[in-house]
């Protein structure tokens, strides 16, 4: 009933996405979250492919492979770098 006309491949892709989303949300450490989010992105790409949508799949691929990680990692590194410099300053004092 729930599955019906879904081909098995699609069912698997949907299941992966459904599992991936809470994993991304529940990973509270940003760096690890960026990684999990990348995997979630790949699962979305697979889903788009089995939904006969190659264009969005490509788009999602470049975004989750290049776009998101770059900005997220840059942001994390900066925040951590800041913290490290602050700590060092505190240490010197």
């Amino acid at each position: 009933m729930l599955l019906g006309t879904l081909v098995p491949l699609q069912a698997v892709a949907f299941a992966l996405v459904a599992l991936g989303a809470p994993l991304v949300v529940l990973t509270r450490d940003p760096l690890r979250q960026a990684l999990v989010n990348g995997i979630y992105g790949v699962s979305l790409v697979c889903l788009f492919v089995v939904l006969q949508a190659p264009d969005p799949a490509l788009s999602m691929l470049v975004v989750s492979g290049i776009g998101y990680p770059l900005v997220i990692l840059a942001a994390i590194t900066r925040v951590r770098g800041h913290e490290r410099t602050e700590q060092k300053k505190d240490g010197e004092q």
Binding site: Q52, A53, M60, I72, V79
Partner: protein, 114 residues
């Protein structure tokens, strides 16, 4: 009748909102926002999928053969670009918040209230 795809989309949306509301880190929050948004792609593409259809790219197939809806795919493309733009802006704001207050905790940067 199969509703699993739509249920998955709704599930992602709710999970994303829950993540946003409970987040303690702006970077984490921005990623949760993109998760929420991904529910709209999943829903759009599921809605436009056609049984036994091919992708709407007619290289080597006859025009008029069964194919998925190209409109939802075009909409998804735009949606993806929007998500990149928004996450970039929010992360830039997160960096500013961190520079000014040393924190990326949304509860911690509440300077003004009331």
């Amino acid at each position: 009748m199969s509703f699993l795809p739509y249920v998955v989309a709704a599930w992602i949306c709710l999970v994303g909102i829950a993540g946003m509301a409970t987040s303690r880190n702006l970077i984490h929050l921005a990623v949760c926002l993109t998760v929420t948004q991904s529910s709209s792609y999943v829903l759009l593409l599921s809605v436009g999928y056609v049984k036994h259809g091919k992708a709407p790219i007619f290289v080597g197939t006859k025009v008029g053969s069964t194919a998925a809806d190209p409109v939802v795919q075009a909409l998804t493309l735009t949606d993806v670009v929007v998500s990149v733009a928004v996450i970039a802006l929010i992360l830039a704001l997160a960096l500013d918040a961190h520079r000014l207050s040393g924190s990326v905790d949304p509860d911690g940067i509440a300077d003004i209230s009331g």
